[in-house]
Amino acid sequence: MPDELTHPPLAELLGDRYTENPFERSFYRRDLGVVPPRLASLIGDTLPDAVARPRTADEISAILCYAAECKLAVTPRAAATTAYWNAVPLARGLLLDLNGLAGLVEIHEARLTATVLPGTRWGDLDRALRRRGFTLLSYPTSAPAATVGGWICMEGYGIGSLKYGGVQGQLRELEATLADGRITQVSGASKAAGALRATGFAGSEGTLGIITRAELVIRRTPAAIGHHLLTFPDMAAATGAVAELAAASPTPFYAHFAAESYGRFLRRAGFTPAADGPLLAITYDGEPDEAAQGDRNVRQAAARWRGAALPEALAAREWDERFLALRLKRGGPSVLAAEAWLPTARLADYADDVAKLAAQQGLPIATYGTVVAPGQTTVMSLYGCDESRPLPYLLALSLTKKLYDIAFRHGGRPYGLGVWNTPYLAQAMSAEELAMRRATKRTLDPANILNPGKVYAPPRLLWPPAFKLGMDLLAGTRRVGKRWL
């Protein structure tokens, strides 16, 4: 064992699955978001001291026991498919790479559940289930990379959530390793007062415990699936249609919308949109009569809201490309974005206000999203920039705050907190909910070892009043100086 290691017991435990090599560690400093290094260094020290790749819950337990003993910050991470530094260290410490704890353990046919490990990617899991005649109820829009544990620790709404709800409601049981190293079983159904429930992990972003196993509700592969793609004269019509279809029976499996700005941005990125107007992609699956009724519903909604049905082949292509929204980045080459949870009824108003902001700032902003619950949508507004030009990039960063302001005006809230959305904590949840979450955190992780700096409070530099003022000033500067950018 080399003497110069900072944490020899971890090296002894994991062997070549543990490293303090500076080259290897440097790859864990970022997620999808690009933050100028100087700004990043003001928020925290993102270079972990070590990276560990455990393969079992027992190894995680031993690591957390050691971390608790040494007061070592632990940042859990798997695919790191978010952009708010949810899985980026702020206080050096140990980076816990959970990708190696992956696989479908067992399918329980009688109760239609599957036991899976947390590093399993949703795309891989669905393929494995389909080989056996089963499929998932829902999965994230980043399913090719996103992992089971990661999505559970986020809010867990995406494709299929409209029909089957968020992933929290699909958890039969969780196994989690807590900050003191205890491996605990958490029931998804428990309603006992004070009991830790699986739903408690929603939005916890790895701050309460490391999920080491999950039993998820699954379903048999549907007998029929039908894709529809409609285009509308304006977003008000598209909003009316999607709200109507989401509330009708049967509930669509998937309802995705794209404002006109999305098509324009897609074209700018070098791709061909299915149509130039606002788009609505709807998928029904289930028994053949369900898909047939869905087809009738779509026709009626299209007639009522002046929608035009696009060819089936285009609808199928839209479905095949449902994981590829990031293609828009080719129109960047960098992009910045705000993702918000928004009442579906306000979509058109939101899109109108975003279009006004885009006009003010002289910057194309693409808006699109997914209806994830009755009356609720996750909406993404994304714009291009160039991270290699520090000043324009910094000015462009301020527009995410303006986009969130628009979302808040229409009853929205941020989707995911990490670090960069902590200035919006007051908009993200009520004071009571925040107090309850902080209390749970203090109970389960009193030494604040797990993913410190995330979710519960903004870092000093992002103190909300100063952050908001600073961002507004930058946005104003950008607006005035846009012609020189």
Partner: protein, 387 residues
């Protein structure tokens, strides 16, 4: 799904990369090594941060060359980056800065420069596979007037394990009555290893040599049993030479499928349960998926059972991208995953139309003690021929 977007520039594409990790999910190197640096998005980070100045850390070069160039990341890429083009350019930049000397790649480059093949063998050794041919053919080497040139390739021609492939291919061509020859000892490496080293100018030079050699015989068609040679001739030579090559280029599996469709070869029943491995350079990188399967299905009695991941999603065997020269243990680890999938099918024979896939998979099957025989497509066709 729309294909990869047109490649812009190395720096631009590296910036377009969203670091979404879709590529990591399918990368055979990442699956085996496990560190973030070993996956495509890690390589993009190296490309953006590590290759801008003059120097580079050895680890960075190691990771850039520890890639099989399988192209799976390009299929998965959410931003539709032509990642293969990016990896080749990263290697070019590294080669320019002396990386080949710092990695165990200098010998491969020297073999290519001095002997025009990957092993460093003298050119005459390219004829050794012909010693055991069932039907001796004096016109097999450089016969002017032949319609078809069979481009044998380095691994098939110079490794003993590859010889049965060339022997089977020529027996099939002979039985079908084709007017064919080879370049014999005038054949040079196709240039694919040069590209993989990051030396495209040398690849262009061998392309010029090989094309001139074929043109001097007056042939109209090139057939390669090696998917990488095939890919070079059909897809890369026109770019390297900035002009169409004016030849029909076929992979041996495509030619066999054509011959079977025209009833020019007759196959006897072979009651076998067979699974099929898509070579990366034939499948993902050249788009040939159906011809080899059609050939297998044409053998009476053969039951073709597909592996869990096939066609565009097929797992790599580990044998590409010069990885064997950089990290042979990694090749074995990658191949073991594919063998595990083959074993799951219950097949007794794993067929692949690639000599390099055959080598790596056969070694992995032996190591895993799998009851699985690995054959090239030409070999199983030859065995089934009723001649």
């Amino acid at each position: 799904m729309e294909p990869a977007a047109p490649y812009t520039s190395f720096d631009q594409e590296a910036q377009i990369c969203a670091h979404c990790g879709y590529c990591q999910a399918v990368c055979p190197t990442y699956a085996a090594i496990g560190w973030e640096s070993a996956g495509p998005r890690g390589r993009m980070t190296i490309a953006t941060e590590g290759l801008r100045g003059d120097g580079f850390p050895d680890e960075a070069a190691q990771r850039i060359y520890e890639c099989t160039l399988c192209g799976h990341c390009r299929e998965a890429c959410a931003t539709r980056i032509d990642t293969l083009a990016a990896w080749l350019e990263a290697r070019r930049r590294l080669a320019d800065r002396g990386a080949l000397e710092r990695l165990p790649l200098g010998r491969l480059r020297d073999n290519l420069r001095q002997a025009h093949n990957v092993t460093g063998d003298p050119a005459e050794n390219r004829l050794m596979w012909q010693a055991d041919l069932e039907h001796a053919d004096p016109g097999l080497n450089g016969r002017a007037g032949a319609e078809i040139v069979y481009f044998v390739g380095c691994v098939t021609g110079l490794y003993g394990q590859g010889h049965p492939i060339a022997q089977a291919a020529t027996e099939i061509f002979r039985a079908a009555g084709l007017n064919f020859t080879t370049l014999g000892s005038a054949e040079w490496c196709c240039g694919f290893p040069y590209l993989g080293l990051g030396l495209p100018a040398e690849a262009a030079a061998v392309a010029r040599h090989n094309l001139a050699a074929v043109q001097s015989l007056g042939a109209r068609t090139i057939v390669a049993s090696c998917p990488s040679c095939f890919h070079m001739w059909r897809d890369v030579y026109p770019d390297l030479l900035a002009a169409p090559i004016g030849l029909e280029v076929l992979h041996a599996s495509e030619l066999a499928a054509r011959l079977l469709a025209e009833d020019r070869i007759e196959l006897a029943p072979r009651p076998l349960r067979v699974t099929y491995h898509d070579p990366c350079d034939l499948g993902r990188n050249s788009g040939v998926y159906d011809a080899p399967r059609a050939v297998l299905r044409a053998i009476p009695g053969v039951e073709l059972v597909e592996m869990a991941d096939t066609r565009e999603n097929a797992l790599c065997c580990g044998g590409g991208g010069n990885l064997e020269a950089v990290n042979p243990a990694l090749v074995a680890e990658i191949a073991a995953r594919r063998i595990a999938q083959a074993v799951e099918t219950g097949a007794t024979i794993l067929v692949t139309p690639c000599q390099q896939c055959k080598r790596t998979l056969a070694a992995a099957a032996r190591k895993a003690r799998a009851r699985l025989k690995v054959l090239d497509l030409n070999e199983i066709v030859r065995q089934a021929m009723a001649v």
